[in-house]
Amino acid sequence: MKKALLVIMIIALAVSAFAMGAKEATGTAPAGAAPIKIGATWPLADITGKQGSMAAQQAVDEINAAGGVLGRKLELIVVDDELKADKGAAAIEKLVTVDNVDLLIGGMASGVALGQIPVMKKYAKVVISTGAASYKVEEGLGAEADWYFHLHPWDYNQGQSYADGWEAIQKKFGNVKIQKIFLAYEEGAFGKASFDASKTLFGGRYTFDGAPFKSAAFGGGDYASVLEAAKKYGPDLFLWAGYDADALPMLEQAKAMKFNPGIYLGAPPGWPADFGKSPLAENVMLYGMWAPSINGVSPASKKFYDGFMAKYNTEPATYFAPLSYSAVYIAADAIKRAGSTDTAALIKALAATNYASPLGQTITFTPSNIIKHQGVKNQKILQWQKGRQEVIWPFESATAAPVYPFPAWK
């Protein structure tokens, strides 16, 4: 019994100690009466959600330092969705019914968004979503969901934009020739969606094939058989859709197998720390929405980047950081124009958004296949050059010309 009491006391102490620390870390609520509350959910144990929430807080602090919105301060309330649908749904219930937030932002995984949608529908609060690329999410939302503002491109938007991008690149740079495309995709939902979208978009214009692999993120990491299939196919453009854990090991195995495509391109949601430092990384291409090199062409990006570095002393590692930062600014701007946080007025104001974002492009909302308010529709094609991600396409935000072909293995 004594032991049991002891353990209970230890737990209580540990919890309260941690809780105190956490409170200090998140900071005190901004002074002044009745702040505008922004509720957010992200997977905080994942780098995407963690930095997303940090960037959103950065935006809130910047706006509050500049006097807030409508004379009121902004307050960001973040709840961890733990990458689980039920936790994500409960988080929305809490933000709406307990914290009484004025609008919702955030999101990363489609699997969590699917679980949150029924709850979001119930309250029909304004949502500015920073994640959820799967077309299944859009199907789940339906055409009626005019309160849902989706910043992140849908999977088919991404596919379409790559198809456009390669067309444009081939036109501008005569030496780049693409006929055969091979996609190695991780076998989960993310990779399978990429494959389905690419097949329909590339299928007509190019000869296209693909094969699945088990991502190192889930205990795989053996790419020999998929690379062998790719090598046999002999593509001009080799694409892989997986996770950051796959990036370098796949490259190393490709070298070991002397697999040498004209373009070697990866499309993970994020890249490993210091990928650029590897000698193999040179001239690997990638799909993405943002890279620090955009600072050179976009003042918004530079402002975001410098602010993030100053506040947290670490580099934003994924595009979820600038995307989440954008979500807060878009919300603040719309509230200012609407003159209130009333949902109907806010929807109207948001629909008229025109925001020069750190992504190096201006964000507006236009209809996509089903929903009315889709933000970003295009992705960027980038290339690792001398350890930095340089934007190749779209040309208006390009920071470098493509190096082609991908150098042969020594």
Binding site: M1, V15, K84, A85, K87, A90, E93, G191, K192, A193
Partner: protein
Amino acid sequence: MKLKSSYIVVAVLSVIAIAFPAFLGAYPLNVARSIMTYMALAISWDMLLRSGQISFGIAGLFGLGSYASALAVLRGGMDPMLSIVFAAAFAGVMAYALGFAILRLRSMYFSITTLALMEIFRIVMHNLHDFSGGPEGVVLPSVIFKGASPALYWLCLAGLFLTIGVSWFFEKSKMHLALTAIRNDETSARSSGVNIFNYLLIAFVITSVLQGMMGAIQVQSYGFTTPDTAFDANFTLLPLAMALLGGIHSTIGPMAGAVLLGVASEWLKLKIPYGHLVVYGIIIILVILFMPQGLFGLARKARRERSKAGASHE
């Protein structure tokens, strides 16, 4: 007299549980649903454990129930409520068929086999693209009861009540004698006329029905499922941890454990946004080290010590 007073306590608690939506908001009801789902899984796992068989396949039957229900609605146009019954029955039939092979196994080999079966179910659902939606899963046209919080809560509560009721029946009927005898000593049980295989099969099928049912309720309440959500290893590991922390071989133990871990996880997350799972893990370690018999086991021990002290006074 004692029995009667405990009946009254149970009745009062049930009424309170049923009346929760009257005085709780949507958020606590949502959290309660999560906890109740895990609680039902923990109790059902414990029911089979009373025979000594450790199943690692809870997530397998839970996921099978999820898919059976979702696909029955989506592909067969079945009524959602009916699909829950269908899914429970489907899980039961699968368990019955599989039981013939795997219930001859004991200890770790049984556990591993149930774990492997769960993985097989997951991979099959992952690969049957046209039928099950593949890795992206299935999205239902709408959530049951249009997502009204109280209705979803009561549906989940009904599943939990059924589970508790069956577990209580297991404790009070000859199932209790049969399963405990099998767990303590199979040879003795056999010479006392216990048909071991039959009782294991009954327990396995019934617990699978309950797990399949909870899976179906889950999928109808959230309106979608994917192989990774339906067969999430957490649906196996968390119920195990809950039952153990609360005290195994009882109904009340897993319930206490589910409340402890369920509330702790939600509360910690709000208090410690970054890193709450570290504390969660440490709580599990400390409870196992210092309360090896779980919360309820501790209470049971204390009661026994008191009665012993009383007996020596006489």
